[in-house]
Symmetry: C2
Subunit: 258 residues, 2 copies
C-alpha cells in the first residue's frame, strides 16, 4: 500500500519544502506514483513546481469544506508521475482562517489522505514550521515523519522538543500516530566547524534515527524556486540532486527490509 510521510520541524527555513519537492520528484523518477501536498500556505511547493501560487484556485479548501477527493483537486506537474495539491490561493491572504479550517476539519483531511492511498504510492506532506493545525493534521494522516535538521542548527533542544511533541500528540490519535522515519541533515558544509559539530552531536544523541545520507548546501538547490522545477530534474547530476536520490534509495532499501 501507499506510504504517507510528513516533513516537519519546529524551526523555520531548515529545508522542508526543498526536501519535499526533490524527494517527491526522485521517488517519481524511481517509478512511484507520487502526490505532494503543500499544507503550508506559503508559496514553497507550488512555486518550486512551476505554478504561481496566487493563480491556483480550489485545492485543500474544497477537500475540507465539501469532502471532494484529493484526486479532484490535484494538479499535474511537468513530471508524469508527480501530482500536487496546495491550499487555495485564498489561504495566502487569509492565513488565520486557513489555520482555523485545518483545525476544525482535520478529520476530513485524514479521510481524504486515506482515500488517496488507492491512487498514489507515496504521499509527501510539506508542513509549515512549528506545531500548528496544519502540522497536527498532517501527522494525524501520516504513517511516518521525516525531520530535516539544518547543519547550523545549534538549538538541538528544538529537535528534542519536536520528538517529544509528536510522541505526546500521538497518544491522542486513533492511529497511535506516525513513526519517526528518520532525521537527515540539510545544508551541510564539511568545511565549517559548525556543520561538523552538529553532525557529530546528532550522531551521538540520535544514532540510528539519523539517516546515512545528508544534503549539502548548494547554489543549485537554493535556485530551485527560480527554475520552477525540482533540482533533481533541471540538474540531475548536481551534488544536491545526487543527495536526494541517495536518500530515496536509502528509504526504499529500508522499506524492502521491513
Amino acid at each position: 500500500g501507499a506510504r504517507v510521510i510528513s516533513l516537519v520541524s519546529q524551526k523555520g527555513g531548515v529545508g522542508k519544502t526543498t526536501s519535499t519537492v526533490n524527494l517527491g520528484a526522485a521517488f517519481a523518477l524511481s517509478g512511484h506514483r507520487v502526490l505532494v501536498i503543500g499544507a503550508d500556505p506559503q508559496c514553497g511547493v507550488s512555486r518550486s513546481l512551476g505554478f504561481a501560487p496566487e493563480q491556483l484556485h480550489g485545492g485543500l479548501r474544497e477537500v475540507l469544506l465539501s469532502g471532494m477527493p484529493l484526486s479532484d483537486v490535484a494538479h499535474a506537474t511537468s513530471l508524469d508521475q508527480l501530482s500536487m495539491v496546495v491550499p487555495d490561493a485564498w489561504a495566502l491572504d487569509e492565513e488565520r482562517q486557513y489555520k482555523d479550517l485545518m483545525n476544525r476539519h482535520a478529520d476530513a483531511f485524514v479521510e481524504a489522505v486515506d482515500e488517496a492511498r488507492a491512487e498514489w504510492d507515496t504521499i509527501l506532506i510539506d508542513c509549515p514550521p512549528g506545531f500548528g493545525p496544519e502540522t497536527r493534521a498532517a501527522l494525524a494522516a501520516s504513517d511516518a515523519y521525516l525531520a530535516p535538521v539544518q547543519a547550523e542548527e545549534l538549538c538541538r533542544d528544538s529537535l528534542r522538543r519536536l520528538l517529544e511533541f509528536i510522541a505526546e500528540y500521538s497518544t491522542t490519535l486513533p492511529s497511535g500516530g506516525p513513526l519517526l522515519e528518520g532525521l537527515f541533515m540539510t545544508m551541510t558544509d564539511h568545511r565549517t566547524l559548525m556543520s561538523r559539530h552538529v553532525a557529530a552531536s546528532l550522531d551521538t544523541e540520535f544514532g540510528t534515527a539519523l539517516l546515512d545520507h545528508s544534503v549539502p548546501r548548494t547554489t543549485r538547490l537554493a535556485e530551485m524556486a527560480l527554475h520552477g522545477r525540482p533540482t533533481v530534474i533541471y540538474d540531475r547530476r548536481s551534488l544536491g540532486s545526487r543527495a536526494y536520490f541517495d536518500l530515496v534509495d536509502e528509504l526504499m532499501l529500508r522499506w524492502l527490509k521491513d
Copy 2:
C-alpha cells in the same frame, strides 16, 4: 528617548535572531545602552550571548505575571552596555502556554517595555516567524520594525503579506502601530543568480524602504551560536560584522536626520 525596534518576518530562518544579536552588540559598541528581548522561546538569543537556555529562570514570565520591571529580570552579558531578557526556561517546553501568556498579557508587556525606555537607549525585540502572539505583543510595544529578507526568498508574497498584516494590525493599536524602519537583505551571495534576482526585484518593488546595506552569507555568522558571543565581538573585522556595523551607521544617520 529610547527607540524600540522589532525584528519580524513571516518566513522562518531568514536571520532575525542573528541580526538582533549583532545589531544589538554593534549599537552597544557605538555607545548605546542596549536591551535585547528574545520574545521567541527557541534558544536563539540566549545561546548567541553565551547562556544555556534551559538554565535561565525568571525572565519574561515574571514580567507578565507579576508586573516586575524588565530591569529586574535582565541578564548582563559579556558586553557592558548590552543586557538580555528571554522567556523563562519553562517556556521552551511549554510553548503553547507561553504563547497563551503573551496573548493574554500583551498590555503588561507593552507597559514593561515603555518603562524600560528610561534605562536603555535602544531596545531590540527578536520575534519568532509569523504573526503569533509574541510578534503581535512586540509590534504593539515598538516604535518601528525591521524586516530581514533572505536573498533566496523567492516568495516575495510573504513580504507583501507581512507589510499588509502589520498595517492592518496597527489600526487596532492605541499607538497607531510601529513604522517600517526598513527591509534589509540577509545571506546575500552576489555570485548566485538567485541572490541578484531577489536584490533586483526588491529594489524595484520596495525602493526606498530597502536599506542600502545588506548582510552576506558567511561562515563566521553561521558559527555564532557555537561561540556564544555576537560575531561583531569575536570577529569584528569579518565581512559579516562589517555589514552589521554599516547597518547600524546607516540607521543612526537616518535618526540624526529626523
